[in-house]
């Protein structure tokens, strides 16, 4: 049953050093406030899972929280590189990060399979790609009906998932609306889950088939206003595309990145800027 906690307390309680962590939100509703809290609490040796690492994992990797990264597209969307990710992979700064690289289709299926309680996801994937030659987590099964060879990847089953959503009601039921990505899957696949929300409301006012996650399937809910900034929350605030472009300059070199971290995370209160 969801417990209402401060973001500090939720992260302190559920995100352990060395844990496997998924922070999801496909472009939309990226849990920046939660990610910043993880950095602020100097969690380390994390295995980070995310389809699109985006700025949030660039920040976590640059801050030294990550030991491994499981992902499928690691760029700054529409802008270019994630420089902190590249610096870790290419030069081992602040330390080497081991990467397990997939396609989106495989990651999406792996989240789906994790939510479905299965050990593997099966897909018609990776045909002709060289990714299987560098990722030993990609295997194959044979269909017992047709003999077709299909790709298999381990399901995603994080120790803890962190996602951001628009709102929760007072029982802790959560509404996710708009681009819903793999948020529901991330929550259901995880051992523990933390959901940050823009606000708590009396009534979710959701349609009959809306993406509502019951409070009893969530461990902690924390209010984090603008918790997805500089990504966006449909119905609340738009994506700050300008910040995404500025990040290219901030993150390109180590010193300005460190200065940004100090100012915006370590020496900032508890709320994402």
């Amino acid at each position: 049953m969801a417990e209402f906690l401060s973001l500090h307390d939720a992260v302190a309680r559920y995100v352990e050093d060395g844990a496997t962590v998924a922070m999801e939100g496909f472009t939309h509703l990226i849990p920046f406030a939660a990610g910043h809290e993880v950095i602020r609490q100097r969690k380390h040796d994390l295995t980070l899972i995310r389809m699109t690492p985006d700025l949030v994992y660039d920040q976590l990797i640059g801050a030294g929280c990550a030991k491994k990264l499981i992902f499928s597209w690691g760029g700054n969307p529409g802008v270019g590189s994630l420089h902190r990710l590249r610096d870790a992979v290419e030069k081992g700064w602040p330390h080497k990060v081991e990467i397990f690289e997939h396609s989106h289709a495989a990651m999406a299926c792996a989240f789906e399979a994790g939510a479905a309680g299965l050990p593997l996801a099966v897909l018609r994937g990776y045909v002709g790609s060289e990714l299987p030659s560098v990722n030993d987590q990609i295997k194959y099964i044979e269909c017992p009906f047709t003999g077709e060879r299909l790709a298999a990847v381990p399901s995603v089953r994080p120790d803890v998932s962190l996602v951001h959503a628009q709102k929760a009601d007072r029982k802790g039921n959560v509404l996710v609306e708009g681009i819903i990505g793999v948020q529901k899957e991330a929550i259901l696949a995880a051992g523990k889950s933390i959901v940050t929300v823009e606000e708590i409301v009396d009534d979710l006012e959701a349609g009959p088939n809306a993406c509502v996650i019951p409070g009893w399937a969530i461990d902690a809910i924390a209010v984090a206003e603008k918790g997805a900034y500089p990504s966006y929350a449909h119905g609340y605030y738009p994506r700050d595309n300008r910040f995404y472009k500025e990040w290219d300059t901030i993150a390109r070199d180590r010193d300005p990145f460190q200065a940004w971290l100090d100012e915006n995370i370590y020496n900032a209160g508890g709320q994402a800027q």
Partner: protein, 258 residues
Amino acid sequence: MSNEYTSSEMMTVTAAKALENGMTCFVGIGLPSEAANLARLTHAPDVVLIYESGTLQTKPDVLPLSIGDGELCESALTTVSVPEMFRYWLQGGKIDVGFLGTAQIDRYCNLNTTLIGDYQAPKVRLPGGGGAPEIATCAGEVFITLKHSKRTFVDQVDFITTLGFGRDGKARDGVPNIGRGPTRVITDLCVMKPDPETRELVVVSLHPGVTAEQVQDATGWEIRFAEQLDTTPMPSANELDVLRDLKARTERKHAGEA
């Protein structure tokens, strides 16, 4: 109305024309997105644009910066989860054409968006595969658009992120349930198609004012030219107007957000 246009505009307009009205198109971000939306705003109003963020049949007023900008969802017929997008709509065979960009391409249309150098010790780490590996095999066919240069058109891609026709041109042969693969590549210099037999890329039309020599100079292997080498039609004034309006709206939108 102006008769002048840049080579980038030529590329986008030509890429847009590849899309037919009514096609369902799985759209990659960047150049493909620009071309696909131009098609929708000109000759193909009923082209169905699908982005991997889950937005089905979307009609953005400005170009998205990311694959999941709010605009895409707000103007979509509906938005599904990302697993559903990849399972039901892409793998389920509902996509006529996948429209991709790339960092590197070789003579057999293999695409590399993973890295330059060696995987274990990369010289340049690129973003990775994203949706492309399965878009390229599950969509009915694939269009590719990118700028022409020796850096992008290489003899052998450093890594096959996404299958064209393999290192030998035969990697799709006999594979069950696979799409036709790349059927055209559109650059700022020319249009190429794979040879029906060998699958090697062949230049089939040069953009107005471009020479075969220019194309060869910008290509990292000895590229073939079709015996009947066409000249790509010029952009119309209307196409240029619509494209420029779209880009101007987009600039204003993205600059104005804080």
